[in-house]
Symmetry: C2
Subunit: 391 residues, 2 copies
């Protein structure tokens, strides 16, 4: 038998979103009369703006006709979308069309990009992180190192003393929900510059950032030499079922890096759905931007309600101000799967056990503000009632 | 600096479709009055059937509304599409929903699937093949071996005497355009059974197969134990710009293989665009099947015209009967880039140099029947006129 890549067996499936879903569905089946509310979802609930759908409908309709039909596009995306993104997101950074890649999801590309580097490169991933970094790197047989995110540091990743080659940073952070300031990002960029390392910068929740905080890692001096930034239309444009994302691979990272990566992309990918790319372009219409701001505002208001409710109940919390996620310390002396079970069976509320994001997260759980307002309010009421009774 | 994966530099970009396009575009720019006809395209020219677009329009429109909006789907695809494909394509083969994966393109997955196996597995690729197999395997640092497809064998791949672990087979073949019979496929399946090897079976041109020829490798006894079959809606449904494909990973290949691969897929992919999957489902409507048969018939009629024209001009040819591609031996004593240049500059006709598919292909070129009828006819006229003058 051909030998199976043993690393596939190391994917942590025991502590995963799949298990959350399976346990939730089992509970729903066993208790059909209960109204279960999920604060576990990482998916959006607001539909796609009408104007965007209309533009896509028009484009899709043209696929019926010979003279407007579009077949294969560029592997790295259409120029019309690349231009629009660079203008609107990276206006003064002077990236060229060669430096941006349109794709189907950051989940795919933040791992695919590891193909750029040799397998002995030391990859650094925080213990408490989006589990894809670890599992994806495992599958590609990468040389993985982890370090814990600590409560005493407010879960802000601290620059290490040792040398690493590739660092995963997620900001605004999933699952913590906090957002790093200029100082923190500058420390990491400086580390990478000093160590000749690369930062894989997962920036998919960028639209949730407000106030005086860096929206892009490229706002930090010389970050173009060390950082690859990933963004997505999934949350902002409600494109989680439509699929469109992009990333910046700066020319300054390595001589000919884009020449190499362009060849790789041509040989491994056929580009994003054409209609989808036209839809993503419409994201930048003024009237759509207004709606998006409203939608993000809605989720952040949900987060505010969650934060207030949790604080009132005496929880220690992080995040939820520039992110749809809130990281919550478990009050009882139980594990994160136990708190998951407790809330599911006593409150009919689903939260995400912290251990899914690494064993350093086992004293915490994550709640998401991406749900519907009425559910958020109900969930807080249930939590409040429960702790009033049990305190 | 982090070390770059040196294999990226081995991707053969000198002899690529990109160079064909670049040279063609340069010629068009330099000779704006010439009417250049491409017989090089691997893309379809017939638009998507109206009924399919209508179903997609309806589904897309629903993405405006909260109660019909769809976010993240299953990483391996929606069950409604999986069921429809298994029923219609693999009716009596009893595959389960776990054994089929819906994806964005065979180009991606026929290489991704290599992640299942260790990097020391011996990968066998024919010299004269779709260049993605070689370049994709290179990027993933696989242990690659090649063997020439020979004219004396009618370019049918011969089972080797040595042991290999993974074999790429493309049938109907790109670029040769021939289609293997039961006997040939049985030899390969038997080889794989004997050697405990895996066949990566690229079957994307399946819809072009007629007559008494195997449509699927699983028609061969015990192929379920050794073959992973890949298909696509790109050519049949004109989905090359929409993106939808699928593959079968049989449970019999390895204990728990689907459990492992499902985890990998969840960790590396977020599923295909929902609207696209609904469109692919509509492929199986009776009225759509009728149109598809007509479209395939149109391309095969193009191929017949090309075959007849080339034979009349004394060319030695292969394929074009169960495939949109025809493989043509160069009559002059020149290389395949030279014949490319000759036809481009003397006939304003673009053909694909055989060397793109491996150096064993340098005495040949590929023509495609996926173009428009009037262009096919004109191209043959030009070739005929040229050889009447120059014989």
């Amino acid at each position: 038998m051909v030998k199976i890549n043993e690393n596939l067996k190391k994917i942590i499936s025991d502590n995963s979103f799949i298990k959350v879903m399976a346990l939730t569905n089992k509970y729903k089946k066993d208790s059909p009369n209960k109204e279960v509310i999920s604060l576990s979802i990482g998916d959006v609930t607001i539909p796609i703006p009408e104007k965007v759908v209309d533009v896509m409908l028009d484009t899709l309709n043209k696929q019926k006709y010979s003279d407007t039909f579009k077949g294969y596009g560029s592997s790295s995306g259409y120029d019309f979308l690349k231009k629009k993104i660079l203008e609107n997101e990276y206006g003064n950074l002077n990236f060229t069309l060669d430096e941006i890649y349109i794709s189907n999801g950051t989940k795919i590309d933040c791992i695919n990009i590891l193909e750029l580097f040799t397998n002995d490169a030391k990859v650094l991933i925080s213990n408490i992180s989006y589990p894809i970094y670890l599992n994806g790197s495992l599958v590609l047989n990468k040389n993985i190192y982890t370090f814990p995110l600590k409560e005493e540091d407010n879960f802000i990743p601290q620059v290490p003393n040792n040398h690493y080659d590739i660092i995963f940073l997620c900001n605004p952070n999933n699952p913590i929900g906090n957002c790093y300031n200029y100082e923190t990002l500058k420390k990491w960029v400086d580390y990478a510059l000093k160590e000749n390392a690369i930062i894989i910068y997962d920036n998919v929740y960028e639209d949730f950032i407000g106030g005086d905080l860096p929206h892009s890692i490229y706002e930090i001096e010389n970050a173009k030499k060390v950082a690859i930034e990933f963004r997505s239309f999934s949350k902002s444009l409600s494109f989680s079922g439509i699929r469109c994302s992009y990333y910046i691979l700066p020319n300054e990272i390595y001589p000919n890096v884009n020449e190499l990566w362009k060849e790789r992309t041509i040989n491994r990918f056929n580009g994003v759905n054409y209609v989808t790319q036209v839809g993503a372009e419409a994201f930048y219409l003024d009237e759509v931007q207004d709606i998006i701001k409203g939608n993000i505002g809605y989720y952040l208001e949900n987060a505010k309600l969650l934060r207030t409710g949790l604080l009132k109940n005496g929880f220690k919390i992080w995040g939820g101000e520039n992110s749809p996620y809130i990281w919550v310390k478990i009050k009882e002396n139980i594990t994160s799967w136990q708190v998951f079970e407790l809330y599911l069976t006593k409150l009919d509320v689903v939260v995400t056990p912290g251990i899914i994001f690494g064993n350093a997260g086992d004293k915490y759980f994550r709640v998401s503000a991406l749900g519907k307002r009425k559910d958020i309010i109900k969930a807080i009421e249930r939590i409040t009632r429960y702790y009033e009774k049990n305190n």
